[in-house]
Amino acid sequence: MYCDRCGRDLAGDLAGETDHAACRAARALEPPRFCPQCARRMKVHVLPAEWRAECVEHGVLRGGRNGS
């Protein structure tokens, strides 16, 4: 699994070696930019009431505001 904000491997985070707390906090006001499955940069569209992020390999993620 990868951080969908910075694209780094979350393995270190899960082991307590790295901390993506800042990324998680920032994601409240940002759509994802990296595919959480492969860390590819996604094509992201932000509309007034929603966002859509597409990974060429793993398909489309959608959400509303505040990262939901």
Binding site: R5, C6, G7, A28, L29, E30, P31, R33, F34, R41, M42, K43, V44, H45, V46, L47, P48, A49, E50, W51, R65, N66, G67
Partner: protein, 335 residues
Amino acid sequence: MVSLSDPALAQACQRVLETGVGMDEADVLAVLEQPDEQIPAVLEVAHQVRLRWCGPAVEVEGIVSVKTGGCPEDCHFCSQSGLFASPVRAVWLDIPALVEAARQTAATGATEFCIVAAVRGPDPKLMAQLRAGVAAIRAEVDINIAASLGILDRSQVDELVQLGIHRYNHNLETARSFFPNVVTTHGWQERWETLRMVRESGMEVCCGGILGLGETVQQRAEFAAQLAALAPHEVPLNFLSPRPGTPLEQRPLLDPRDALRAVAAFRLALPRTILRYAGGRELTLGDLGTRDGLLGGVNAVIVGNYLTTLGRPAEQDLALLQQLKMPVKALSSAL
């Protein structure tokens, strides 16, 4: 009466309130340098000025990026520059999604929908996309359409007028003296020239900027004075949201007290202008900041999401307006 402890500044504020003529740069600087305990007083006088010269209504707007990322310019705050290692990928919005964005905006009661592109200026492909988008929106959504497409030439200005674009956004971003620290691929004067042509065309001019780029307080006052000289119909006020991969990634957020001083100061410099809360307000000022700004000179908001980042839900802003008994400007009165 204005209740500031500095008698000269109180007098300057009273003059703005009575005449509707904006403060000069020196007085704006005095507002920006007021001590913390005077912030409520300057916000209060700015609110009085806004009510007197603009009325109680609030103009609501939604924005969307029709062409995101891959921009050849190097605006140091922008995640859409193709020159930085930003995670934002270049992508175009198709026409159905553009119409959906307009529909989402209109559903909030907004009167304004601004189509934005990350470009130096529009090329034939972008102008074609805009033509198709405007026609599709007009067929389905009742809303004023604005545009923000960068630096224009005369023929492009004329085409936007023919398309019925009623307002054109082109931000000067910061004070002329600080601009070279923020952008090196084009000049402040080039932006000014586009704004001059837009004004001459009869389109409404929307021009603001971003606070917290590293400018001094003096440069903030300089910027307010330069905007006042332009006399735009609307001034959007953004606060820097440091974006990953940009040269300003590590800049600290603007102190919220300085942000509120600036809201009041810009209102006092521009008493009759639509002063819009734009990007970065959630990060810099939190939820309470929206309320403080609306009671301190702001009379317009961008609701919902921004171009590449998310905003707070439109419903929260609309509920706040209701609570403050500030009516949303209606489409009929906006036309």
